[in-house]
């Protein structure tokens, strides 16, 4: 009976251990590398499209080829470092994106500019109010009312 309990407990422990390994979080270092890799990948995809556009205009965009090559090498290096980390910490690497993500610049910028925007809006309200008072006070309606 005791043997069965021991067996059951050890099975449970193994199961929990494998589950923990499967959902192992990506370490901070790897997350930073992933962000950098994905950013470079997006740059590379945009460079691909720029090169296509140039070629469709009959050009031979040598500078763009050089950019693409440099970006591809950087992505490869980061991918190798990520694979090394993945082996060490036992996590799955998210795959590389193959499509260009549409970037909403305003949404991206908003967290960085929110305070400035709020301050500008308050200053704008004050400025508009005083400007309006000045404008309407100086208005001469005599010509308009001459009928």
């Amino acid at each position: 009976m005791i043997r069965y309990h021991t067996l059951f407990a050890s099975c449970l422990l193994m199961l929990l251990g494998s589950l923990a390994a499967a959902v192992a979080p990506i370490p901070q270092q790897a997350q930073t590398l992933l962000r950098e890799r994905d950013h470079l990948q997006q740059q590379l995809l945009r460079a691909d499209q720029a090169a296509v556009d140039a070629m469709l205009h009959g050009e031979d965009p040598v500078e763009l080829y050089a950019d693409q090559t440099g970006l591809q090498e950087q992505v490869d290096i980061l991918q190798m470092r990520l694979e090394s980390l993945a082996m060490r910490f036992d996590f799955d690497i998210p795959s590389l994106s193959s499509s260009i993500e549409t970037v909403n610049l305003n949404a991206e910028l908003e967290p960085h500019i929110a305070i400035g925007r709020q301050r500008a809006n308050i200053a704008m309200e004050n400025r508009c109010q005083s400007a309006c008072d000045s404008i309407v006070r100086k208005m001469d309606f005599n010509t308009f009312l001459d009928f």
Binding site: N121, M124, E125, C128, Q129, A131, C132, D133, S134, I135, V136, R137, K138, M139, D140, F141, T143, F144, L145, F147
Partner: protein, 135 residues
């Protein structure tokens, strides 16, 4: 003969009286309309936009003919713009003021705004550009 003569004189007098009365009413209405506009203009100058709106409503109810109606519309646009600017919405102010048809009123308000560092045309153009970009 005398009776006919008296009757025709009486008819003429009453007809003349009626004409004078109509003219008097029309002149009275015109003055009332003008006074309402004057009061509205004064309230705008004092930044009392609520009172200006009330006077403008009075003027609108008294307006007769296209010229007076146009006056009401233009002063309404002037008032809309002033209210918008006062509440910190320069784009809306620019749109209202640029829609004014009275040249004197429009030129004056744009020049005064410019003197305050507000480029009405540039604001309106920037707004149109933003709308085109978003579409």
């Amino acid at each position: 003969m005398l009776r006919t003569w008296i009757l025709s004189v009486a008819c003429s007098v009453s007809l003349l009286g009626g004409c004078v009365s109509v003219t008097h009413v029309q002149a009275g209405r015109h003055d009332q309309f003008r006074n309402a506009l004057v009061d509205s203009c004064r309230s705008i100058q004092a930044s009392d936009f609520h009172a200006a709106r009330d006077h403008l409503d009075d003027a609108q109810s008294l307006a007769r003919g296209p010229e007076q109606a146009a006056k009401v519309v233009d002063l309404g646009l002037m008032l809309d713009g002033a209210e918008s600017l006062h509440e910190g919405r320069p784009q809306e102010a620019a749109n209202s003021w640029l829609s004014i048809r009275d040249r004197s009123l429009k030129g004056q308000v744009i020049a005064l705004a410019d003197a305050q560092g507000i480029d009405i045309y540039a604001i309106s153009q920037a707004q149109n550009n933003r709308q085109e970009t978003s579409q």
